[in-house]
Amino acid sequence: MRWALSLALLVLVILPNFLGSYLLTVFIFIFFYAYLGQAWNLLGGYGGQISLGHAAFVGVGAYTSTYLSMTYKLSPWIGMFIGGAAAALLGGVIGYLGFRFGLRGFYFILLTVAFAEICRLIVSHLEPLGGALGLFITFTGNPWQFQFSDNRSYYYIALGMMLASVAIVGAVERSRMGAYLVAIREDEDASEALGVNAFATKLAAIVLSAFLTGMGGTFYANYLFSLQPNTAFGIPLSVEIILRPIVGGSGTLVGPILGSFILSPLAEVSRAYFARGGLSGVHLIIYGSLLIAVVLFFPRGAYPYLRGLLRRLPRRGAP
């Protein structure tokens, strides 16, 4: 297992040398969405607190670091952490309100949607942040400004972020917090009876999840060179964030990565056609049908199914 992982990692490290610019882009999206998915997974997959407003954290992180960079010439490498902290603060507010008042399930989902929409509407009306038109980053190619003329740099940054998210969420999974999060997902009252401080645990999870997602915002802004409230805070981005971990298998470390390897190329293809116009909807119909198929045929996500398959293989032939 360990050598298989090392081999996969080695392949990913040398891969850019063999990829054309289009495929490079596809891989960057795979890694980046796997990263965002992993950050969501901490709260939604392990903790069972489903957020459909994670774009708010991307947006807050992206706007924070971009504004600081444009106004105060602060390097986005530093702004990234400040943006993460700002997103974590927002996550803390949402979590405090939602969890303090005991909002569960559907109500929590709506609270997150509402906060993301409120952020989107407010930023759309803030002139210093460019209003509805958003912010545009001028390309300088200065690495200190998170800008690179070689796309391979973005590739390695996105890969590094994905691996870091796996390391962080993996560490949480093995810790007391991880065990508590899963217990809360399974039965919150029963977990409280066993000494789990559900409020504090969920709050910690949303703060960490928002922090990681917010850091992703800086990459988002500097890879796309522009920020619009409707896309950076929009529900479609929130939806993209939750799709991958759920399709891959939520509450597992592999889920978001597997889901991203399945969905991101599809999304990227459909996006490319979208830009060309014409029959733009067809690919999203396929995308939507695929989601439906996943639910009907892999109701616990792809990874648990694959794992079950792998376990069954050697046993074949045995009674």
Partner: protein, 290 residues
């Protein structure tokens, strides 16, 4: 800021509230009976609008007549979605149901995009531009018609749910799915009919609204979100709450558009939602136990 302007805005909101109510009642019914979040609700609405649009364009049927046909068409769509998809995931984890409905929403939205194109449309009605002055304020006849028809549709639904056997079973299922099971009712049929009616409500709402507000395939998700806001504000599981919530939100949005910037009117319903979630999570008209 003068009082007449505010009064006019409140009246416009009130009359627009009928379609909001219908939309929310449909959603509330589906959630109440099946505990499934219909994330395709707004996209179903857009389909209702398109049916009305083409009936008016090709056959010259006024949307204030054709909304019944739209309701019937969407009833069929609802039955299909319930039988073919929703029925299979009733026991699945929460996030899987969400994923399924997101898939349905994506398919419906983009099917509309492929078939009808991205253009914004508005259904022609004979009453489109007529107005009647009522003292200092005027009444937009089309708005008044939508309000009256939405009210009538809701009343018919009320009679069905409270006076017919099947309707009573649906309400029983909405209160407690085990209750209906114990009685030995055909739960599958109840679910199918409930989903169909929920879709019919939003189909009728889409048809009526298409005469007032321009629509496009992309408009669906925003309507889904507004529907959910209304249902939570009114009180989950309370059909009356959904109905009154629809009117309340429409009035609040209409006033918000006048008092704030028009483009910030959506903010009103979200702020209202957050306040409700925090201080009265059972909703304005919901029961405490919910």
């Amino acid at each position: 800021m003068n009082v007449t302007l505010l009064g006019q805005a409140a009246l416009n909101g009130l009359l627009f509230g009928g379609v909001y109510s219908l939309m929310a009642v449909g959603l509330s019914l589906i959630f109440g009976v099946m505990r499934v979040i219909n994330l395709a609700h707004g996209d179903m609405m857009v389909w209702g609008s398109y049916v009305a649009f083409f009936l008016a364009l090709r056959l010259g049927v006024d949307p204030f007549v054709s909304f019944l046909l739209c309701a019937a068409a969407l009833f069929s769509l609802g039955v299909l979605v319930q039988r073919g998809l929703v029925n299979r995931v009733l026991e699945a984890p929460h996030e899987m149901q969400i994923l399924l409905m997101l898939g349905v929403a994506l398919v419906l939205e983009n099917l509309a995009l492929v078939i009808f194109g991205p253009d914004t449309r508005r259904t022609e009605s004979a009453y489109g531009l007529e107005t009647v002055w009522l003292g200092p304020v005027f009444v937009d006849v089309a708005r008044l018609m939508t309000f009256v028809l939405a009210l009538a549709f809701s009343l018919a639904l009320y009679l069905f749910l409270f006076r017919s056997d099947l309707g009573r079973l649906i309400r029983a299922a909405a209160d407690n799915s085990y209750g209906a099971l114990v009685i030995g009712a055909d739960v599958g049929r109840i679910y199918t009919v409930a989903f169909g009616i929920g879709a019919a409500c939003v189909g009728a709402a889409g048809a009526l609204m298409s005469a007032l507000v321009p629509f496009s395939p992309a408009a669906g998700f925003a309507q889904t979100v507004v529907s959910f806001n209304i249902v939570i504000i009114g009180g989950m599981g309370s059909l009356l709450g959904a109905f009154l919530g629809g009117i309340l939100v429409a009035v609040a949005e209409s006033l918000g558009a006048v008092l704030l910037v028009p483009s910030l009117k959506e903010l009103v319903s979200f702020v209202l939602l957050v306040l409700i979630l925090l201080f009265r999570p059972q909703g304005l008209f919901g029961r405490k136990t919910a």
